[in-house]
């Protein structure tokens, strides 16, 4: 299987998910679990780095829709970054740029949180 993988990195109060491979109805539950974990731990400042994602279908897009309300209610956000053009086109087709902040680089997304947050990012990069 071409498969799907998620790595997570916590930097102070910001968590970044690195998603890789094929995100479809078969693999979407993996992303759901990762986001659920973050929410359970009270980590609502989430960046998702798409640089290694090869494919996304609406089942994958739906996962973000499923968490955005909860996350925002808790003064957090899901910010997206490093989207390959192919992936961006799908987001754009559905008007997702109206709902989600999409950044070229994960650093920009992470810094947005640092700027707006009450607690500061600990990692000094």
């Amino acid at each position: 299987m071409s498969g799907f993988e998620i790595r997570r990195k916590d930097d102070g109060c910001v968590s970044t998910l690195y998603i890789k491979g094929f995100l479809d109805a078969h693999t979407a539950p993996q992303l759901e679990r990762s986001l659920q974990e973050l929410v359970n731990e009270g980590r609502f400042r989430i960046v998702v780095n798409f640089s290694e994602l090869s494919y996304i279908s609406s089942a994958g897009l739906g996962v973000f829709m499923g968490f955005i309300e909860t996350v925002r209610k808790n003064q957090g956000d899901i910010k997206l970054s490093n989207m390959p053009p192919k992936i961006y086109r799908v987001f754009d087709l559905l008007g997702f740029p109206l709902i989600y902040e999409i950044y070229e680089d994960e650093r920009q997304a992470q810094e947005k949180f640092a700027g707006s947050g009450t607690s500061s990012v600990e990692d000094g990069r």
Binding site: M1, S2, F22, D24, A25, H26, Y55, S57, S58, A59, L61, G62, M65, G66, I68, E69, K86, R89, V90, D92, L93, L94, G95, F96, L98, I99
Partner: protein, 158 residues
């Protein structure tokens, strides 16, 4: 669809099989000469149609079939996805305004909208329990009657 230039796949309705379906369709579309961008659109549209069969047609029965038929004509690629499940009313699930729809932060309901956005022609034919079909067409070199519009411009047109 007759046999001539027709490719058929019939497999159990499970999410793990979506990848097989995507590769099947992509390979045919690529060999037929579609651009990588169009191949991507076609495979996504077919994935969406088949995901719907898995999720909605059979109430989770993974033994039931998804049928994918791909036909190549000189000017177009036609894909028909068929299930024998419970059917639905395509009109009832249409999204008229995607921006409004998204603003409500609703989960799901995007698949059929995506299919319509990605393909040049989309047509449903529903006979519950017998044969529910979505027929999707992609023209070589794009459809002249239907230029691509972004969600924003589509909205502005109303």
């Amino acid at each position: 669809m007759e046999q001539e230039n027709t490719y058929r796949l019939r497999i159990p309705s499970r999410t793990e099989n979506l990848e097989i379906i995507r590769e099947f369709v992509s390979k045919i579309a690529r060999n037929a000469g579609f651009s990588e961008e169009d191949v991507g659109k076609i495979q996504l549209a077919v994935d969406e149609a088949c995901t719907n069969v898995v999720k909605h047609a059979y109430d989770g029965d993974t033994q039931k079939p998804i049928d994918v038929a791909v036909r190549l004509d000189y000017d177009r690629l036609t894909i028909v996805v068929t299930d024998e499940g419970k059917g639905f009313d395509p009109k009832a699930v249409e999204i008229s305004d995607i921006a409004e729809y998204l603003a409500e932060l609703r989960v799901g309901g995007l698949g059929i909208y995506l299919i319509r956005s990605l393909m040049d022609e989309v047509e449903y034919s529903i006979q519950p329990g017998v044969r529910n079909q979505v027929r999707m067409v992609k023209y070589f070199g794009g459809s002249p009657e239907r230029p691509p519009l972004s969600p924003r411009s589509r909205r502005a047109q109303k």
